[in-house]
Each structure stands twice: as structure tokens, then as C-alpha cells.
Symmetry: C2
Subunit: 594 residues, 2 copies
């Protein structure tokens, strides 16, 4: 049976030593997030994750969710009790405004907490995760009346939230959606249509579920210009704020899927369901993007979280499993064989995963902090710069951390040999669960297009130029520091590759847009490597500056970072080489030739 | 529901145009394999695979195998009937000696046939696949009496075979095995112990199952020097050759695994089971390697086969699914959106898989042909050269084609977006099924070590030098051919990287063996890329020389090969860069530091 230990000290290292969280105590809510407070919260989150959530992970996979004929859905054994404990502890309230019952704490901290919970139990983490996304969308776009009606109970976890985008014939291309909304005399709408792949769409954890739904108001323009956002509670809300009679939305079926069985992925049928417009008519897509940006960062975090738990178990197995002898000489002469962690190829796997996970964690928290600055700073310049970075990095994190995260779970599974393929060891569940993160909230191919087609050119390339400048300045500032050379030199090479690729795109994608599409995934991964490399630069610097403090821990950081530079960064050149070949050969065959 | 179409014309292209099969008609059995005969056999194999085996693939996954309390195992609905049809058509007899009821046809042809069957239904293909491996081991090591006793029924498919190596505490490190064999007065042995992960270990397809089992004879030396091979029929064979009373071997349970549910993976308990020594006492490991080399090539073929069927379905979906508009201008103005095959990032996935599959197929058949030459040629020099190549390439094919094959199924699944994650579409089954090929018959890490630690240095590096010479000569011979430049130039670069990596190993692995282990997986992949690149060189040349014959088909080959050179070959430089960093950072952390 797999185990999980929340990576608390790694998270604290990023927050305190790398990001210098204390420097931001002028931001609202940050003053409360003292180092002691952060440590206490992360400690409690670790305990909750390890003791309550992790033991339910395998049960969630084997039992799955079951739908009754009346459309109700039962979650796996223990999920309800765990969810009650979650809400009682107020975990969902951390980053939200105290106006609606939140604690005003940094979203960065909430992100760190949700990594722990997801690492322990990804399926469980989805229920509050989607609620947080839906709450963020309401906060940004709903009327004050709507906020007061829904947010307190959502933030408290008394109600959960969902996002209803996908329909059978449209996923990426939301302009094709057919769910329609008919205006009623009282200002409400009647929604009809079918939504699929709705995570946490129906369950038995809470008395109500607040669906956010995109639909087309009768007579609205075709395409994305006619999409509006609605709030559709599963149970209508009574005058006194309690949940009342059932609305016209039912779970038609639960999808049979590859993994994530503990979360109910539903087909939802809307049949004259009563909903209320959120924000402005026909501007629903913009509101949806608020929700999606939050969610995309969250999905990147899932890629990391499952990779981390898979890594931890691979380490345990590699230390326990005796097989063969070290080629550099017997290491455990008192045993029949050496533990497989002595073999370089096993070490390669562990170091690879470890070095990517630690960089991913830093990158996700670094970006989450930009989000906090963007939402909370009173300095417009700071807000703009933070937003630029957050917008730029969100698709990179979603696309790269989930791709790498999945690869990592596959490598961790490989450490187990044949046992990795057997259900009882739990490793194959990590592979099946983490696979979805590459797909939902926009496939990783879509993330790459978002990066290349939208984010790079936004505001005349302001964000990417600022990124180049920040990384370049870091390299320059540390040029004379010999101890930093193992980090800055490979990073500099990676940055040059990224700049060359960016230049290639500028020169070749304008007149031939397919060149952008043909480059997109490689460009995203090249970007991800440089961003992770930059994180390793920051981490190495922090480790060196710790100066004897917690020395063993810091030494491990320095070695892991060096491994990343030696073994992971060289991939940038292959990406650049591919990008530079353009789209001609890729697109040469007619569709019929396949 | 997924479909499958055997890639008959691609296979014929390799056999006829690339390998020039007719040139080998001086080898025994090859004279019968005329182009017409080959086409007829492949045509029948395609029909059988597409019509009989493919429709059972999803059923096999969803039903799985079920064990009754008496230890008997029921295969999924339809498998028994399909197996009967398989034996009736004599598919298992193709490559075996007519002395035991075989058809003496080239093993290369049998390999091509088994790709089709595996692509249609990997779980089904394992039953005859293991029988073929066990038969090959008996052919090579058993006494004439044993051969006559077992082989005719095994080759005919009346009985199946298995390989019993793994025990709970030992997989890779077979020296630790505990199954013991006690000599009996009549020359037989009584075997006791537990074997796990035994594919096709128990089932209801045939009246008997012939287990090949490695065990330690009482009093034999510890470690690998005390391992002997035994034949242990599930039912003892009567004097008249019929299957008689039950032997002391029972299926204790069926493993719950990630995929491959249609094949019964058994825990087999040997309880004073009667067995007979095969070959020489304490030389069982050598005999087992015969079986494993056959099997490893077969596993590489599985990696290709599932990648191929996943690719085909991704192509179909990409042509059907309407979503978004081409960034280079609307392609299907009469439709609500363009089919997603117009998007470069989708095209990237399809071209990547296609270019790897076609190279893998060529490489597997090229290597299988070496096997035929090695077994059948009367020229010792030819035999030796062929054996060298087969030994060298077997771990590369097993390791690289299954790694890439799995990655390909994941990419093909990605084309489906959310639908790829849903069971009914069948794509996630391909991912789950193909995952095992990276693990069994020696994990891919073990393949890499076999290549670097055993195959490279064998006979003073004779095989690798011959490989360098063959590829180098090919490049030189085509240097002046401009039409070949898109293939020979990148191949030349790749070959140089491989040679540099080999040189690095020579200079650094002797004094520090961990440098070999640290390089092994990257070296194997670098080797695989160059080997595939060489295959594309051969294919491009064959396509150019076809000279207007079947022009459209040949044009596709040329474009696909060019794509491989542009987008896949550049990975060699990243592998070389990683290898060159050595083992120091990788091994720097103490085991306890993880």
C-alpha cells in the first residue's frame, strides 16, 4: 500500500528562503502569514492529508462513485466523513475574502495546502478544488447579491461548485455549444442542454451543488460571441438562504474512465433548469477564463502532487527491494542482494523525478505569488508585472508540469518492475490518475497554442521580454560567483535557446501561422525547462546563502539542482532544433493520405 | 469502438523493397516464401486479425479472466473460439521445423504475422506468443525425446507453453530463486515453490499447458550457477501422448493488473510437481536466455503493434472530430468547424507516431531476418555476422520500441481530448496494455544494462563496430545523391553522436563502472534513434528507387522519413549531452538522503 508524507520542508524552503514571503507583508492578508503561522498551517494540512485523505485514495479507486436510478451519486466509503472534517477545519476558507467568511490568507499558501491534499488523494481534492474555482469566478464576475447568496456557503464548504463547459460535440471549441438559455419574466433563465465530463457534478458530500454553466441565450450571436455564464444551483435557494426544491438538472450517468474513480465525472442534463446570469450577457467566455486560469494553475499543481507521491513510494521501494549487486562493488554484504537504489539507472529515475518536482513546486508557488500580488497590491505597476507573469506562466505550468508529472509517475512505476503493474501496489493508480491532468482544463496542446498564439504577443511581447530580462539579470548578477556556475551556465544556454526559438517564431510565424502551431508544444516545453532552470537558479542561490544553516538539507538542494542542469536542461537544444524545422514536412501530407 | 486494419502494405514494403526478401531464397524455407506467398499469408493474417481478434479486444479488457475455486481459469468470451480458429488455420506452425509439424517458413514472416494479431488483440496474442517462445527453448535445449513428446502438440497449438522465472522476491536477480527440484529415482524431479506474473499460466483454451520452469536442484550452488530448467506439464503426458492426470501445479490467484486483462497473469504454486530436466544441470539460465531473446524481440513487436492500432484510431478521430478552425485559413467551410487533423499540433502527434512506427517495423523485421540467417545459413561468416546484429539489436528493440510505443499510445490518446480518458473509446486500454511491455522480459533498464554491459563489449566490440561500419558505408555510398541528403545528413549526425557516446563509455566506464550504469538508458535510446534513422535511410532509398512505381505510397514514405529526421533524430544530442555528464551528480546523494 502506498504511503504519503507531505513535503512540508520543501514547501517552507520555497516560501521562506526562495520567495522571501516575509518581504510581502505589506500586502493585505500577508501580515498574518508569518513564518510561524505558515509552518503551523502546513503542519496541520500535512497531518490531515496523511492521516485522513491518503488512506482513502486506494478505496476511492477501487470503489469509485456509484449512481442510483434517481440520479443521485454515492462517493466512495469514507469520503463524506473526510469532507466533513475538511469543512469543519475550514480548509476551504483560507484564501477567500473575510467579507464572505474567508480568512484573507495568501492564495499561495492555499496552493501549497492543496498540493498536500492532492498528493494524498487527487480524487478527493477535486471536490473542494472545483468549489474554489467556481467561487473565484463568482467573486470576479457576480453581482453583490449573488455573491452574498452563494459565496459564504461555498467558501465554508457547505455547498460545492462545478464548471459546466464541455458538450458532446464541443470541448476546445466552445463556440459550438448548444445549451440554450431562455429569458423568463422574473429575470431568471431556463437552461436546457447536455454537459459532459463534469467533475464533481453530482455527489453526496453536501446538501447543494452550485453549477456554473455556459450557455447561449436564445437569439444570441453564433460562436464565442454569444456565450453567457449562468449560476444554476442543483437545489433552488429558499428566501432564508437554505437549499430548497430540486432544480431541473440531473446526473444522467457517470463516465467510466481510466482513473480518478473517486471523483464523480458526470453527464449533466439540464432540462428547463432555472439559472441566473452571471456578469454581462454574451461575455460569459471572459468570466469562464477567470475560472479556468485558476483551474489551470490547480491542474499543474495536480501534475506535481501525484508525481511527488509516486516518487516517494518509488524511493521507499528502491530502498527496500533487494535485487542484484552494485556494479561498483557490493553495498550490503550482510544481505542476499543490494537494495536497488544502489543501481545508477534507478538513481537516474529518482533524481530525475525529484529534480523536476522541486522545480515545479517552486514555479507553481512563484506564479501563485504573482497572482496574490496581482490581486492585492496597491501598486499598479507591480500588479501589471505580476499579472503579466501569471498569464505567461499559467499555460506553461499546466502543460509542462502535467506532461512531466505523468512521465514521472510512469518512471516511478517502472522502479517497481512487475509489481508496478499490479493494482495492489498502488503505483498504476498514480499513472491512471495523473493522466487526466494533461487533458482537462484545455489539453496541453491547447496550452501550447495559448502560450504561442496569445500570451507571447500580448501587449507587444511585454511579458516575455520581462521574463527574459529577469532571468538574464539573475544570470548576470551571479556571473562572478563560482559556486553558482553549475546553475547559471546551463541556464544561460537554455535561455539562449529559448530566445532563439522566440526569435524564430517572430520571423516565421507571422507570414505562415502553421509555423506557430508546429512549434507550439516544443516551445512550451522549452519554456518550461528554462522556467524550471530559473527556479533551480533561485533555489541554489538560496541554499548557498543559507550558509551552514540546515546544511544537509541545503546540500541536497544543491546536488538535485545540479542534476537538473546536467540531465534535464540539455533537452532545450532538441526542442530548438525541432522548432526550427518549421511546419512544411509536418503538414506535407494531405489529410486523406493518413 | 476502436478499429484495426493490419498494415499489410507497409509490411510488404519492408520485406520486398527494403530487405529484398527474394535475395535470401537460398536459405532453407525461404524459397517457399515467394512474394505471392507472403502476400497471401499476410492477407489471411490481416483478415483473421481484423475480423476475429480485434472485436474481442475490448471484451477481453472489460471481462478479464476469472479463476474458480478449483484453480481453473476462464478466458474472456470468444477467446476459446478464436483460439480454435487460430490453431485450425495453423498460424502457430509457420516458422517451426517440419520435423515437428511446422512449415519451415521464415521466422521474419511469423514476426510480421504476430504484429497483426497483437495489434488486433495483445492479450490474445500472448497465448500463442508464449507457446512459440517455449517451443524455441525446447528446440534449442531439449533432448530429442522431449522434443518429440512436446513440440508437435505445442507447435500445432493443441497445448500452450509458459515461462516460469519470477518469484515474489526475485525478478531481475534470478540467482535468488528458491523453487527447488528434488531428483527422483526415475530420473524425474519434484518441483516445489511459487512463481508469480506467469502470463497464460492457466486458462481454458487448451487441454494442456507446458510450463518451462527454472528451479534449483537440491544441493546445487547458490546464485545463478545453480539454476536448472525443467519442463513441467500441467497434466502429465500418457504413454500414448495424450494429456493425463493433473500434475502438482495450480493457479493460486490471478493478478489484478493495470491492463492486459484478457491474458491470465497467474501466481503458480508448484507442490511436488513432476518435472524433467531440460538440457544440462545448472545451465538453466543459458537455456532461459534463448527463450528470452525470442521473447524480447516479441515484446518489442508488441510495443509497435499497440502503437500502430492506437495511431490508426487517432487518425480516424482526427479526421472526424470537428473543432476549431485552421490557423492558416478555413479548410471545411461547409462544416461548423474543421476536422482537427488540420491543426499542426495534431499533425505533429500523428506524424511522430507514424514515423516511429514505420521505422520500428523495419527494424524489427530487419533483426528478425538476422535471426533467420543465423539459424539457417550454411555460411559461418554470415551466421556470425547475423547473430552479432541480432544480439546487439534485441535489447535496443525491446527497450526503445516499447518506450516509444507507450509514449505513442499516450499521444494517440491525447488526440481524443477528454474522450481519450473514457473507457468506451478504447484508447485508454491501449495505454494500459502497452505499459507492460516496458516492464516484462526484463525491464527496459535491464535492457539498457544488457546493451552497455554485455553486448557492446562482446567479442572485443565486434558487433558495434560492424554496425558503425554498415551505417557509415550506407551514408558514404549515398553521399552524392542529393535526393538522399535529407536522410543521410541527419543520420550522419546521429551516428557521430552515437560514436562519441561509445567512445565516452570506453574511456570512462572501465575505471568507474557506475558511469556505464548512469549512461545506459540514454545510450540505448541514442542507439535506437540511430538504428531507426538507418531504417529510414534504407526505406527512403527503396522509395526513391521504386521509380514511379506505386508513386503515392513511396512519396508518403519519403515525407514520413523526412519528418523523422527533422523532429525525432535531434534527440540524439540531448542523450549524448546527458551521457557525458557521468555518474557523479547522479550518485552524489547517500541512499538515506532520499
Amino acid at each position: 500500500m502506498p504511503t504519503y508524507q507531505a513535503p512540508t520542508s520543501d514547501t517552507l524552503f520555497v516560501l521562506n528562503d526562495v520567495l522571501g514571503f516575509e518581504r510581502y507583508n505589506n500586502l493585505p492578508g500577508f501580515a498574518d502569514a508569518t513564518p510561524d503561522m505558515i509552518e503551523a498551517i502546513l503542519g496541520e494540512a500535512a497531518k490531515f492529508s496523511e492521516e485522513i485523505l491518503q488512506p482513502l485514495n486506494r478505496i476511492g479507486d477501487s470503489e469509485g462513485c456509484t449512481r442510483s436510478d434517481d440520479g443521485s451519486v454515492k462517493t466512495p466509503t469514507g469520503f463524506k466523513e473526510a469532507y466533513d472534517a475538511y469543512t469543519e477545519a475550514g480548509w476551504g476558507t483560507l484564501p477567500f475574502s473575510s467579507e464572505f467568511g474567508g480568512q484573507d490568507l495568501p492564495a499561495t499558501l492555499a496552493t501549497a495546502v492543496s498540493e498536500f491534499m492532492t498528493g494524498a488523494n487527487m480524487s478527493f481534492g477535486m471536490y473542494p478544488g472545483l468549489t474554489a474555482g467556481a467561487s473565484a469566478a463568482l467573486l470576479a464576475h457576480a453581482s453583490q447579491e449573488q455573491k452574498e447568496k452563494y459565496l459564504p456557503n461555498m467558501i465554508a464548504g457547505k455547498w460545492t461548485g462545478t464548471m459546466n463547459l464541455t458538450e458532446p460535440h464541443c470541448g476546445t471549441d466552445l463556440g459550438m455549444l448548444r445549451t440554450k438559455a431562455v429569458p423568463q419574466a422574473d429575470g431568471s433563465y431556463k437552461l436546457s442542454g447536455q454537459k459532459i465530463f463534469i467533475s464533481a457534478g453530482e455527489h453526496d458530500l453536501t446538501e447543494n451543488i452550485i453549477h456554473l454553466v455556459i450557455a447561449r441565450i436564445e437569439g444570441a450571436p453564433e460562436g464565442t460571441k454569444g456565450i453567457s455564464l449562468f449560476v444554476v444551483p442543483r437545489n433552488l435557494i429558499n428566501e432564508d438562504g437554505s437549499s430548497g426544491e430540486k432544480n431541473g438538472v440531473t446526473c444522467g450517468s457517470i463516465e467510466e474512465k481510466m482513473g480518478l474513480h473517486g471523483n464523480s465525472t458526470c453527464v449533466l442534463n439540464f432540462d428547463d433548469a432555472t439559472g441566473w446570469l452571471v456578469g454581462v450577457e454574451n461575455k460569459g467566455l471572459r468570466a469562464m477564463f477567470t475560472m479556468m486560469n485558476e483551474a489551470r494553475l490547480g491542474v499543474g499543481m495536480q501534475g506535481l502532487a501525484v508525481s511527488e507521491v509516486a516518487y516517494q513510494n518509488a524511493v521507499t521501494y528502491a530502498k527496500d527491494r533487494l535485487q542484484g549487486r552494485s556494479i561498483s562493488g557490493v553495498k550490503a554484504p550482510d544481505k542476499k542482494a543490494d537494495p536497488i537504489i544502489v543501481h545508477p539507472d534507478i538513481r537516474r529515475i529518482l533524481m530525475t523525478i525529484r529534480s523536476i518536482n522541486e522545480a515545479s513546486r517552486a514555479l507553481i508557488l512563484w506564479t501563485a505569488l504573482k497572482g496574490d500580488i496581482n490581486r492585492r497590491s496597491d501598486n499598479e505597476e507591480d500588479r501589471e508585472a505580476a499579472e503579466d507573469f501569471m498569464e505567461l506562466l499559467t499555460p506553461v505550468i499546466k502543460g509542462v508540469v502535467t506532461d512531466k508529472g505523468f512521465e514521472n509517475t510512469v518512471m516511478a512505476q517502472q522502479v517497481y518492475g512487475g509489481h508496478g503493474y499490479i493494482a495492489e501496489w498502488g503505483m498504476e493508480q498514480f499513472v491512471r490518475d495523473s493522466r487526466i491532468a494533461m487533458i482537462y482544463e484545455g489539453t496541453n496542446g491547447i496550452q501550447a497554442l495559448d502560450l504561442v498564439g496569445r500570451k507571447l504577443g500580448a501587449n507587444g511581447g511585454r511579458a516575455i521580454q520581462a521574463f527574459f530580462k529577469e532571468v538574464g539579470s539573475f544570470i548576470s548578477a551571479n556571473k562572478k560567483n563560482d559556486a553558482m556556475a553549475p546553475y547559471t551556465k546551463p541556464l544561460s544556454k537554455g535561455l539562449t535557446d529559448l530566445q532563439s526559438a522566440s526569435m524564430w517564431l517572430m520571423q516565421n510565424a507571422m507570414q505562415k501561422p502553421d509555423n506557430a502551431g508546429a512549434a507550439s508544444t516544443d516551445y512550451m516545453h522549452l519554456f518550461g525547462l528554462v522556467a524550471m532552470g530559473y527556479m533551480w537558479g533561485l533555489m541554489a542561490k538560496a541554499a548557498l546563502e543559507a550558509d551552514g544553516d540546515n546544511n544537509e538539507f541545503m546540500q541536497k538542494k544543491l546536488i538535485t539542482g545540479k542534476y537538473f542542469m546536467e540531465r534535464i536542461m540539455p533537452e532545450t537544444s532538441a526542442h530548438l532544433a525541432r522548432i526550427s524545422t518549421g511546419c512544411d514536412t509536418m503538414m506535407a501530407l494531405e489529410a486523406d493520405a493518413f
